[in-house]
Symmetry: C2
Subunit: 366 residues, 2 copies
């Protein structure tokens, strides 16, 4: 089976590039003495998680409980659920997940939630491993650093059915800062209170085994941060246009990792000399970035969205002329929500399909 | 089972509103003497298609072949595939679909595709019903109106394994024009060449049985268009913020149809007095509009995206204060790609879950 046989639109993974990405991050983090627990919200694909672990990751991060349920069912170890598990329905499911995998880690940022988790774990006969989620300036989840985080850690330590394991701080606002120097400055400022909170807890006699954070954008910045024990990079394994644009340590494009993910589409109409229509639109690419997909190695062509199920190719010069039925690949603006649109991934070795992998946690945001 | 038991984020359909929407369009189009073949790209849900047909629709439109495969497997009659079916792989699947449902209609806009379809149908022993897709100014698919469309119709008529049934013209560029009068003017100009093409064909002795087009935005404009036989409205059954904002015949909001679709989310963090975080982000709502989701009947609150799996609630005044674990509903900006994110729809009668419907064609863009 080759690229020509794949029904389009379809998601393709270039295995050579993907494998080099796994090696590159492993070499960097190993040299820096940090662990890697990559974020599975990027790919939602157990086969990718399996290969990340084979390449040295200690486990994976799941954004949501439902993602962790899928990964646990696939036998993936070392699960950390990075969003607070709140409410009777979800806490009940978390307890059933612990029946299968007692090592799952949860995060907390509110004393009421600590109480709810402790009661549920006690009733279910479990001891739940917990990180305190610390706000590092992203205006998202997390207790304030310092005393509020300490108070929460104490509440966890004081609950026999919970086991305090450490801290999480995700500085999502730094991940996409354009320019490496500016990103280093932003990440340094954001993460300092997390590391100070670690020191505060240890000074009060609370051992902090895990400090988890970081992103693909700051992987080579956070890796230098004393006090952080593990990185949660996700996009590095497949990359996207957004991360490419933020630039790297030595240039205005982040080329430390290779663009391994594309969407394959077919030209279904050639209505005018300067225009062609492909079968990939708003349902084939995430649309949350201010720029659109880019054709791979096809100069003279630009893509724009043309509705739910269509894309418009603007043919700028003769190099861009395409034929009816021709197949083209496009780089997605943002990998995570793009992968979340597809049920499967075609793992390519050149033009040959080496495997078809289920994106089994697609849509599992619950 | 009630709203409180649903794992979030989840897609909810208010059945009372949905049923009134089905009745409202049926009454209007029946009075106007037009048929309805609603577009299933909105919902991708066989149960909704079934109810549309029970309410008087003559069939449904599918954006893509894979959508039609799902609808045919569910026994939905009267399928029209509104995107050209191009390439060996897809034409092969279309022939297998005809084995199951010989009434499926395809559209064409290129003579090469007419030849490919004719050869495949002849080899498979089928007679495929075909509409000529006419470009009505949307810079998407479609042959130019007039002589080019006539030439294509002749090619279809001359192919014994094809049966010419009529014309399709979808003026997507008019559907979202803000202001009813401006929209009427735009739609009138766009659709005139389609109707003239009908006359041209009939003048040359080619009977035109079907002329299919129209959208929710222009439903009460296209319904007055002599020469159009059926409308393809899709969003009317569930509605969204985008269609609400375009305005109706008698006001600056389109209230002819009711807002029946919401996303249910849970507050998972309350990190600051002016801020709460819900478990619905870029993977819970389509993001292709320049505005975001709106909380339902919750003044003092605004939503903004906060990453793949989170949304930020900005609490503007004391009315907007929310509790940890509280569940809120949000109106989606754009219904079609939002529904395409979910595997199921909770059909609600008030706060009670009356049914859970598979969005069986979700992701079926191939």
């Amino acid at each position: 089976v080759t690229r020509d046989d794949i029904p389009t639109p379809a998601l393709l993974l270039d295995l050579d590039r993907f494998e080099r990405n796994l090696r590159a991050v492993a070499i960097h983090l190993s040299a820096a003495g940090k662990r890697l627990r990559p974020h599975a919200k990027t790919h939602k694909c157990p086969e990718i998680a399996r290969r990340q672990i084979a390449a040295g990751a200690i486990g994976i991060v799941c954004a949501k409980l439902a993602e962790a349920e899928v990964m646990a069912a696939a036998g993936i170890p070392g699960l950390l659920i990075s969003t607070e598990v709140v409410g009777v329905e979800k806490i009940g499911r978390l307890m059933r997940l612990l029946d299968r995998d007692p090592d799952v880690l949860a995060v907390v940022d509110h004393p009421d939630n600590v109480g709810d988790l402790a009661r549920a774990a006690r009733a279910a006969g479990h001891v739940l491993g917990v990180l305190v989620d610390v706000d590092v300036g992203g205006r998202r989840t997390g207790a304030r650093p310092g005393e509020p985080a300490l108070a929460l850690a104490r509440a966890v330590v004081d609950s026999p059915s919970l086991r305090f394991r450490g801290l999480q701080g995700y500085a999502g606002q730094c991940a996409h800062v354009v320019g490496w120097a500016a990103r280093r400055e932003a990440a340094g400022k954001a993460m300092a209170p997390l590391i100070e909170t670690r020191s505060l807890l240890e000074g009060r006699g609370i051992p902090v085994e895990i400090v988890s954070g970081g992103s693909t954008g700051t992987y080579d910045i956070d890796s230098q941060l004393a006090g952080l024990t593990e990185l949660q990079c996700g996009s590095y394994c497949v990359m996207d246009l957004d991360y490419l644009r933020i630039g790297g340590r030595s240039g205005d494009r982040l080329t430390d990792f290779e663009m391994a993910l594309t969407v394959l589409a077919t030209v279904v109409s050639v209505p005018a000399p300067d225009l062609a229509i492909v079968d990939a639109g708003l349902k084939a690419f995430a649309t949350d970035r201010p720029f659109g997909p880019e054709p791979v190695e096809r100069p003279g062509l630009a893509y724009e969205f043309a509705g739910d199920e269509h894309g418009r190719l603007l043919i700028r010069d003769p190099r861009g002329v395409v034929q009816l039925g021709e197949r083209l690949e496009f780089l997605p603006p943002h990998c995570d929500p793009t992968m979340n649109l597809y049920d499967r991934l075609y793992a390519m070795r050149g033009r040959r399909v080496e495997g078809v992998w289920d994106i089994a946690a697609r849509g599992k945001s619950q």
